[in-house]
Symmetry: C2
């Protein structure tokens, strides 16, 4: 029987890795479809809004990485226990996303000298602004980003923070012991550890 879920993305971690972590954590059977960069021009017009990831289930297809991750988090019991708890998780996730959005222009910038300036500004401004606040949260919150327990907000951080490093070329969590510890804790969960060892080795 074909797996119940199909997740389509590029051949890399990127913004699909949160969902792949959740799928593996919960032992959900899925098809891990990876689009080669050179095939993307053929794929793009067939997607609903020109972007991936896409999740397929029961003949239906939807996009949006965070929406997909939230859905999977509910399936694998890493969501909140009530609406307010879900709000607290969502607020953390969207704040980590805010930081990511601030870094994305580094990726698009083709001029090397402008790229260097963007990286320096990020390292002086947005990265310490957000990371110091996340660090405080984790410190006060029993080692987690929300609700004093493991939630998909931690999975989101563990999978997005390597993107911060990739974009800036630095080890951004080096100064933040609690954040580094949180990422190691997620990466060390038996199912995640196994997935990290088994997943395709890709540049991003």
């Amino acid at each position: 029987m074909a797996p119940a879920y199909k997740l389509t993305y590029f051949d890399g971690c990127g913004v699909a890795e949160t969902s792949r972590f959740l799928i593996n954590y919960g032992g959900i059977d899925f098809e891990d479809v990876r689009i080669k960069q050179e095939d993307w021009p053929q794929w793009k017009p067939k997607t609903p809004f020109g972007v991936v990831p896409l999740l397929e289930h029961n003949g239906k297809q939807v996009g949006q990485s965070i929406a997909i991750a939230r859905y999977l988090a509910k399936k694998v019991k890493l969501a909140g226990n009530d609406d307010w708890e879900d709000l607290e998780i969502d607020a953390v996730v969207n704040t980590v996303q805010d930081l990511y959005q601030k870094l994305v222009p580094i990726f698009s910038e083709k001029d090397e000298s402008k790229k260097k300036t963007l990286i320096e500004t990020a390292q002086k401004e947005s990265l310490p602004y957000y990371l110091s606040r996340f660090e405080e949260r984790v410190k006060k919150n029993k080692g987690y980003l929300a609700l004093g327990r493991l939630t998909w907000a931690d999975f989101y951080f563990a999978t997005m923070s390597p993107m911060f490093d990739l974009l800036t070329g630095g080890d951004n969590l080096a100064k933040y012991a609690n954040l580094k510890g949180l990422r190691e804790k997620v990466n060390g969960l038996p199912a995640i550890k196994k997935w990290i060892e088994a997943r395709p080795k890709t540049p991003f």
Copy 2:
């Protein structure tokens, strides 16, 4: 007794108006706190991540406009009936947000000639790309963006699409009868109509 909810934002619609619509739709009692632009420098350092809106309830405070709107949508029964339905709504909301994010640089651009170029590009590229696809969705979906019925995705579109017009200085829905109809349908709901008439008249 003080209202159970306090929503703090600037003195304008902006990204808080989806939540104000939901609150009014559901008849939730709330305190509508509006920060004057000149007072923002005093407010900003007191917010958790330097941004508004913020929702306060039962002595707790959280940020993130879409997270707050999703929470309120559940309270007023404009969310999905199961996890997959919530995913479909979330995917629409985040796709409308993607379009908004593409337009935001127009707001930040101070050089008038560069601003004009950004607006022209948006009107030739991102606006028709997204709006034509939303138009098709609404046409096939009984007049709504998701699930063939009124959801908070429609509230999000009805409150964010005026921002598209504000940023580009144009009536962007003019060519899209179904989208225009959807916005009018939301704005014409009795509680929303009453709120629009009663709310402070602000430039955004």
